[in-house]
Structures are given as C-alpha cells and as structure tokens.
C-alpha cells in the first residue's frame, strides 16, 4: 500500500527542550491513523510540522511521495487544530466561505461544497447566524466542515470530539469513516483511547518527543498481551487450585481468570480442563486495552507532564 505521508527523522528543538526528537513513521493512504501521546508529548509540534506551520530543524516530510511544499501542499491538507476558534462576529456562511477561499477554492466551488456539507450535517439553517451564537458543539461541527471542505488528501484532526455530545460525535465518526472510504487519509490525534480503539487502524504513541510505539491496533495488542485467559466452566473449582500450566488470578463463581505460564499453549490448558471432566462453556484470551498499554508505557518512560507548551 502507498504511503500518503512519510516522516523521516524529524527533529525540532526549542531553547530548553527537545519538542520532537527524531520521529519517523508512515501513514498509509486511506487509513485512519492515530497519533497518541500524553499532554506535552510533542503532538502539536509534530502536527504543525506536518502542516507546514513550522519547519523541522532536521528531517523531512514527504507528502504523497514528494517533499512537502508548504506553498502548494496546503491545499492537500485539512488541519483542525486543538486550539481552534472562529471570528465571533462573522456570519457562519460567510465564515465558511472565507476559510474555503483561503484554502484556494473559487467562490462558486466553495459555495456548492459548503451547501453540500451543511445539508449533510443538518446545518442549513445556520447560514445567517453569527458565530458567537453557536454552542461549543455546533462550532465544532462547523470547524469539521471547514477542515474537510476542500477535499484534502490528508485530514488531520486534533481532538475532534472534545465538547461533542455522543450523537454529534457519532455523526462526525461516521463522516470520518466515510472520508476514509473515499480515499482520504486521516490522522487522528487524541489521548482518548477508547475512541482510538474504535476508529484507528494504525497508531503511533509518542512521549517526551520520542516515538515509543508504532503498529496496527491488533498487532500492538498482541505484542502487549500478558497471556491471560478467561474460562467459564460448568461448575466452580477450588481457588487454591494450581499447577505448572497456569495460575488462577481471579475467580467469579464458574468464571476463572488464568495467567498462563510460559512455554504453554492455550490448547494445553483446554486439554487440562477437559481431561478433568469439566465442561468448558467459554474460553477466550484477555487482550490488554490500549488504555492500559498507554498508561503502562507512559509510566515506564516516567512521563511527567511537561511545562505547558513552551516554544
């Protein structure tokens, strides 16, 4: 699969700290990519370098196989920053038109696309309202429309769901999936793990300016599995029960949580119970959630939340 975005050894140092310290990764075309990290990990700096707002000290950004050209590639990127705002006094329709034209759309193109998106997200009646009359969730929706309006190849969303109610969050989520299906690639930056698990194919975790994890969601879960299994039997067994295959680390009536010893396969465990004449009603491996992996890794690297964004 083709890579829409390649980062090679990006570095950005500020006076007192290394905001981004030698980060490389690729984003596949049409994928939904999660960029994760605790507060102050360097996510925003990284995103700003990808969008050409700031320049890396060293390293290169390739967009669609070619070196990133801030002047012309702006049209290929839609960026919804975490710190986002709108001109309060402007009318919503005018505001969308203005930002669309800044992206390089012609007036008529901008108008038809805004109308399309407003209809799609049920915002048609908003056209003549002022931005200051919008609720936070409503302006979030407007921000989203503005970001995707010019049909960018790469869409970057920094915390897109903050402030959205579940209904609107789902609406946006569906749109993200739809856009990915149509061939746009999406980078999704957040620290809300349950959303990542739900949406992303591939994730990168950064902390203290360094990449500490890179892979698909399923492969990462496999990598971090701790050989824990959940088994449900037809009758309860003695908790003290242990052998050289596994340890019982939790019991809830007939359901046992097992820690498998190394060098043992899951079939061995099943055979063990079957041989004892017990009926296995269910058996599955317990995979760690991304949340657990995130907390574990970040604590390992001793992340203390860094001073609030020093540039």
């Amino acid at each position: 699969m083709k890579n829409i975005l390649e980062l090679h050894n990006l570095k950005k140092h500020y006076a007192t700290q290394k905001a981004v310290d030698d980060i490389s990764f690729n984003v596949e075309e049409g994928s939904i990519f999660g960029l994760l990290g605790p507060n102050g990990a360097g996510k925003t700096t990284l995103l700003r370098m990808i969008t050409g707002i700031i320049y890396p000290d060293t390293g290169s950004v390739l967009l669609d196989g070619k070196p990133f050209d801030p002047l012309n590639d702006i049209q290929n990127i839609g960026y919804m920053p975490e710190e986002r705002g709108l001109y309060k006094k402007m009318k919503i329709g005018d505001h969308a038109m203005y930002l669309a034209q800044l992206k390089g759309l012609s007036k008529s193109d901008a108008l038809t696309r805004i109308k399309y998106w407003f209809r799609r997200l049920e915002m048609e009646s908003w056209w003549n309202k002022k931005v200051e009359d919008l609720s936070k969730g409503m302006s979030q929706k407007l921000q989203f429309v503005i970001t995707v309006l010019h049909q960018p190849k790469l869409i970057i969303l920094d915390e897109p769901f903050s402030g959205l109610d579940p209904l609107n969050a789902n609406l946006i989520k569906d749109e993200i999936h739809e856009l990915a299906k149509q061939g746009s690639s999406i980078i999704f930056s957040t620290h809300r793990m349950e959303q990542v698990e739900e949406i992303c194919n591939h994730i990168v975790l950064i902390n203290l300016g360094k990449k500490i994890l890179d892979g698909t969601v399923s492969s990462i879960k496999q990598d971090f599995k701790e050989n824990k299994f959940s088994i449900k039997l037809n009758r309860s067994v003695d908790t003290g029960y242990s052998n050289d295959l596994f340890k019982i680390i939790g019991q809830d009536k007939e359901r046992l949580t097992l820690q498998m010893n190394s060098g043992v396969s899951s079939n061995d465990i099943l055979l063990h119970f079957i041989k004892q004449g017990l009926m296995v009603e269910s058996f599955n491996e317990i995979l760690p959630s991304l949340n657990e992996i995130f907390i574990k890794l970040v604590e390992e690297t001793k992340a203390t939340t860094r001073a609030f964004q020093t540039v």
Binding site: R48, I53, I77, M80, G85, Y98, G104, F308, T310, V311
Partner: protein, 444 residues
C-alpha cells in the same frame, strides 16, 4: 498575493460595515467643522459687545472718539454722578464706565479708573489700555506743538518686508500658517498612527485569543495573514481619510458661505485688493481670517496632501507591523500589551518632541535628522514640509527621507513577521522582549 487580498478584503469589510465606522467617519468632521464654525462665529459676531461709558470731564477727547471693533466707547454727559453711572451699569446699559477727572493731566503720571459691573476679560483690558495709551500719546505730542501732519508722518512706520532670495514674500502670516499647517498635519499623522496601529494590534490579539490564528495559518502563511490585516486596516484608514477630506472641504465650501455670507464677502475683498499699505494694514487690523485665507494661497496644498498621504502610509506600514508583533506576543491579559508597547511608543513620543522643535526651527540639524530618520520622519517631516519644498526642505532630503522610510518599513515588517509567526501560536506564557529578539535573530 491573492490570499493577502482575501484577508485584507475581510478586514476591510468587517470594519467598514460596522456602525461605529459610519459614526466616527461622519461625526468627526462634523465635530471639527462645528468647532471651526463656532470659532468663526465668535470672531465675526462678537464685535461691539463691550460697552464703556466715558465721562470726559477734562475734555481730552474733544467730543470725538474713534470706535473700536469689539469695544464700544460712548461719551456720556459730564453731569452724571457716580451712583447714576453705577445704576447704568447695573441696568446693563454699559459694561463699565471711566471717569476722566477735570484735573487729569495727560503729561503726568495720573492713573485712570475703569469701574465695571463684572470683571473684564484680559483681551478687552489690553485693548482698552492700548487705546488710551495711543490717544494720550497723541495728546502729549500735540501738546508739544507737534502738528497733526508731522504726527502722521512719524507714525507712518517703515516696516521690514521679509522675502526669500527668489523674491517670494515671506510674511509673518505665511510663517504662522506654515507653523499651523505643519503642526496640525504632524499631530494628525501621530494620531492616525496610534489609532490604526492599535487597531492592528487589537485585531491580532483577537485572532490569537479567539484561537483562530492556527486555523488560518494552516491555510496561509503567517506573514500573509499579518500583511493582509495591515493592508486591510490601512485601506480603512485611507477611505476614512478621503471621506473626511471630502466632507470637510464640502462643508466649508457649501455651508460656510451660507452661514456667514459677510465673511466670504470680506475674504474676497481682501484677496482682490492690491498688495499695498492699505491692504497690509487691513490685514493687520483685522488680524485673522482674511490674512489666513490669503496666506493659505501661499502654501503648497497639493504638495502637503501628497506628502501627508505618503508619510501616513509609510509611517503606518512601519509602525503597524510592530504593533502586530506586539499583539501576537500578548496573551489573554491586555495589561501585557501596555508594557510591550513601550518600546514602540518611545520613538513616536521622541518624534513628537523633535516635531515641536522642528515647527519653530525647520532647518535645524535636529529637525533635519528627525525628518530623515525613518522612525521619526513621518511626524517630523510633515512639520517641515509646510514651510515649503524646496526652499526649506531640499529635494535631496525629501528623497532620502522617502527612501529610508520605505527601507524602514520593509525592515520592520520583516522583523515583525518573524516575531508574529512564533508569537501568534504561543499560548499561556508571558513573552518578554528578550525572547522576541531571540525569535528575530534565530535562523529558520
């Protein structure tokens, strides 16, 4: 370029479409015109408002009394007693009375007393004092057997007529008008620099605090955003300026003759009369409007307006980018803006100080320096230009000043662009000048 235009267009339209724009643009000239009309009104209509009764017991005035513009003297009968005079003043028939006792000796050092109902103004007092001194002086000379014709020939003073070497008249009125025009245009530039400069600063602060800056700089370069804002607001300034000029000139040409027909009549008379003793005397005597209208003809108005527009634009571009840089460095707290603005205010205040010297001594070294140095030239040069190009300001100085101003604003815009680019995306931290200088020096 297209994006700068789009941004400028938005900045321009959002400001021009506001009600406050319409209000200030229309109201300010009306206000200025109102003051102007009021001033003229008082100058024209307030004559003969002070009435002084004179009891000439010594018969110094011989029954004759030359009237003055603003003070009406009236000889009243010698029989009137003090209480009767007091009553006349109380009845507001007169504002005051002056009794010249029979024993009064014009050659002596006797003092006369003027009793008035309410205290008289300083100008009126001086006029009365002057009048009496003049009359008594004549009396004294006549008593020394100086004939009236001899007296006239003495008083026919030989005046020095000031002119420049090319033969053009250089009257005191002209110098006065140059002073006035220079001072006024320099002050106007100073005010406009501040008004539009801080408008730029507030605009940048708004963009930063409302967090729209990052949304926009993902579409355009920060420099384009800054330049768009500066040009948009500059265009508002030019539009406002044009409306003001049109309104003020229009009001003067249409309303003034309607309100004060006698003034215009008077002015045209003054202009028609040949330059001679009579006219000069009249100008001196009337001491004002006629002379001013006449003097304005000697000032190169198109030159001044042209330079004004150039120096306003140059100064605006030079300072507004710095205001933009300051705006980008400010966080939520507007108080920060004040301390950060100080380094920008200093050269402007410095320029005002030089300007007040330059209007008095337009060719002094300080004035020449101030009018060429780009941080002060928009204000100081305007004070000098009113004195005439090329006699007071040689062409080379004007040219050098213009070139340096253009270079200056390119320089400040470049520096400000670097500060702006970093500042606009920084939140939460208070930024110092030291850091800003670091951003400027730092390589990309």
């Amino acid at each position: 370029m297209n994006k700068i235009y789009l941004i400028a267009q938005r900045e321009f339209l959002t400001r021009v479409q506001k009600k406050t724009f319409l209000l200030t643009t229309i109201l300010l000239p009306l206000l200025i015109f109102g003051f102007y009309a009021l001033m003229i009104y008082f100058q024209v209509k307030t004559g003969n408002n002070t009435k002084i009764a004179i009891v000439d017991k010594a018969n110094i005035f011989n029954g004759k009394f030359q009237q003055d513009d603003e003070i009406e003297y009236k000889l009243v009968g010698n029989a009137l007693t003090t209480p009767q005079l007091n009553e006349l003043v109380e009845l507001k028939k007169f504002d005051g009375y002056l009794v010249i006792p029979q024993s009064f000796n014009p050659n002596g050092k006797d003092t006369l007393q003027l009793s008035s109902g309410k205290s008289l103004g300083i100008m009126t007092r001086e006029k009365i004092q002057g009048k009496f001194e003049k009359i008594l002086e004549q009396q004294r000379l006549l008593s020394l057997n100086v004939s009236q014709s001899e007296l006239d020939s003495i008083q026919n003073g030989n005046k020095i007529k000031f002119a420049n070497i090319s033969g053009q008249e250089d009257t005191a009125t002209k110098v006065g008008i140059s002073y006035g025009v220079g001072f006024a245009s320099a002050m106007l530039i100073y005010m406009l620099l501040f008004i539009y400069g801080s408008m730029v600063m507030r605009g940048v602060m708004e963009e930063k605090t409302s967090r729209i800056a990052e949304v926009i700089v993902s579409s355009v370069k920060p420099f384009q955003l800054m330049m768009g804002k500066i040009t948009g607001i500059g265009a508002v300034g030019i539009l406002q300026f044009i409306i003001w000029i049109v309104l003020v000139i229009g009001l003067q040409m249409i309303l003034l003759p309607i309100l004060f027909p006698e003034l215009m009549h008077h002015a045209s008379q003054v202009a028609i009369q040949p330059v001679g003793v009579q006219a000069a005397k009249q100008i001196q005597d009337h001491g004002g409007i006629g002379a001013i209208l006449d003097g304005f003809k000697q000032v190169n108005i198109p030159m001044i307006i042209g330079c004004f527009v150039f120096y306003f634009l140059g100064g605006y571009l030079l300072y507004s980018s710095m205001f933009a840089a300051v705006g980008s460095a400010v966080n939520e707290d507007p108080q920060d803006a004040q301390s950060l603005m100080l380094p920008i205010m200093m050269p402007i205040i410095f320029a005002i100080v030089i300007m007040t010297k330059a209007v008095n001594e337009p060719t002094s070294a300080l004035a020449v320096f101030g009018s060429i140095f780009p941080l002060t030239s928009p204000i100081v040069m305007m004070a000098r230009i009113a004195y005439g190009v090329p006699d007071t300001v040689p062409y080379w100085q004007l040219g050098l000043s213009a070139i340096l101003l253009i270079a200056g604003f390119l320089g400040t815009t470049w520096i400000a662009g670097k500060i702006y680019r970093t500042g606009i995306l920084m939140y939460g931290k208070k930024i110092t000048w030291k850091e800003m200088i670091k951003w400027v020096v730092r390589k990309n």
